[in-house]
Point group: C2
Chain length 316, copies 2
């Protein structure tokens, strides 16, 4: 197979042996694989892949066709169109996936969209629904709303019936975010003037959270799943948290157990795939690149101002 | 009645009309009333009493004998020995209490202990059990362990079967804390060397939490209910919270609704009073003062180094 490989903090595409599935795994012939902030961290030597994943092949999500199944996989998975979140190794022409982590694609969606679905929508659903317990009528503040997870979160929160305030670096994506379901969009310098919120989905980090903590309504839930643009160390006012009886939860998907990830994938198959099938959910694409252009894709990803997902595509 | 009154940030004891109970309330003839950090804040003009409480009579807890009952109170409460958490007004010879907020005293406990029970044990139980979901075998870190809430929390955590690490300003109370159930005691400068913990009960604030955040085990729960000695603004490392999938919750009792406070009192009557009756729980007293000495009691409370509760007593 062809695989993107990290060597001395640079990316190259090299030939590697095509992996065999473990007893309960499948191999997916990859057609598209999303780029995520974690890939860039991993390239820089941070955020190493968990045990059991290729150490030097990045990529947390991909979509493709099941091309091989393990001995103990008894469902008829061969040939199915699927996508999945994986611990690493997705940016290659073939990728091993736990069979219970598969998300089954709607018929109509194309490969680039499918390659950018799994990580963003799984992360956003887990954070908003499972961690924050978002409910109809909640006022939700989503920072980094133009990014991959952000555009997923805006749509999910809107479908649940929340009032969605999308925070972005500039106002240029206002129209696109409103089209996805945002009720209003603001830039960082406008956050302090907002009404109280019930849920904060923190995708940017300290620079946003330092402001957002002053907006918390009673029983507010803050879920921190990204610190990319805004820094990790925040000056948190404990008396504010106490007065609002607020909860701040940090979360990542990558470190979870195989069983936990299966539960998360089940939820996505049940709650999100039907809404993706109807077109109520979609994957906005900032830009696609060929797998061989991974280096250029990472450079593009690192730049501010894009809207939606960056996806690597494998030639048919 | 006699009441401690805040006027221009000083305390005096003055004659006031004895209050009448509301339809669902009782009046308690107070025999003892604990002093809490909130009283000192209120004296300084911070942390005002909630609506419906006397604005200038401090005191969040008291014990005594029910001396009058409201029209709609149908239980036989007159003459019962009770204690309670109230929104204010406890440091007086008479105090109005919602009938559903009463905690019923074991026969053997004396008035000073009873006057120092309600706020500390209710707060500690709510934080450890209801907020943090403490379980047998959890490793629990309790800061400010020598204070009123701290000595309650050490006992409750120990009874549940947790491993209790008590953090104190100095090592002088080591023996007393071990006698209450602490497995180990450490001073602030020793916190960084501890093993990971599942629960942090934060009674001190930023100075302790800045260290404790580095000790969080996976799924750790941090409950912040006091910032007295350590400051309110903490530099929190969001990547640590994310990696540990930790949750930080802020909480206060005073701002809760009448219904919520009834639920909390029910839990105390069911879960804690039986263990107080058997002597498994007790209220360590730092010192008692007469109600007329409230000013001296507050001064004493503000000094470091005490162990347990400061209680104002009403002459028989």
């Amino acid at each position: 197979m062809q695989a993107v490989v990290i060597e001395d903090r640079t990316l190259t595409v090299v030939e590697r042996p095509t992996p065999e599935p473990g007893a309960h795994d499948v191999v997916v012939a990859v057609r598209a694989a999303g780029v995520n902030a974690a890939d860039l961290l991993q390239r820089q030597g941070y955020y190493p892949a968990p045990a059991g994943c290729p150490a030097d092949v990045p990529g947390l999500e991909m979509a493709g066709i099941v091309s091989a199944v393990g001995d103990q996989v008894h469902e008829p998975l061969l040939g199915r169109r699927v996508c999945a979140v994986v611990g690493g190794g997705a940016q290659a022409t073939h990728c091993v996936v736990a069979s219970e982590h598969l998300i089954f694609l709607p018929d109509h969606v194309d490969w680039p969209q499918s390659g950018g679905f799994a990580e963003a929508f799984t992360t956003a659903h887990d954070a908003l629904v499972t961690q924050a317990g978002i409910r109809e009528g909640d006022r939700v503040l989503i920072s980094g709303a133009s990014g991959g997870v952000g555009v997923a979160a805006v749509q999910i929160a809107h479908l649940i019936g929340a009032h969605v305030t999308a925070v972005t670096r500039t106002s240029e994506h206002h129209g696109a975010l409103v089209a996805l379901g945002a009720d209003e969009t603001v830039t960082l310098d406008q956050v302090s003037g907002l009404d109280p919120v019930d849920v904060v989905l923190e995708l940017v980090g300290a620079a946003h959270l330092a402001l957002a903590q002053h907006l918390l309504a009673p029983f507010a839930r803050v879920v921190v799943i990204g610190v990319g643009g805004g820094g990790s160390r925040v000056a948190l006012e404990l008396l504010l948290l106490m007065a609002r009886r607020a909860t701040l939860t940090g979360s990542t998907l990558r470190s979870r157990s195989r069983e936990e990830k299966a539960t998360v994938a089940d939820l996505v198959n049940q709650a999100l795939v039907p809404r993706w099938t109807t077109g109520e959910l979609r994957v906005p694409l900032a830009r696609t690149f060929d797998l061989a252009e991974a280096d250029a894709a990472y450079e593009y990803f690192a730049r501010p101002g894009k809207f939606g997902k960056v996806v690597l595509c494998v030639e048919d």
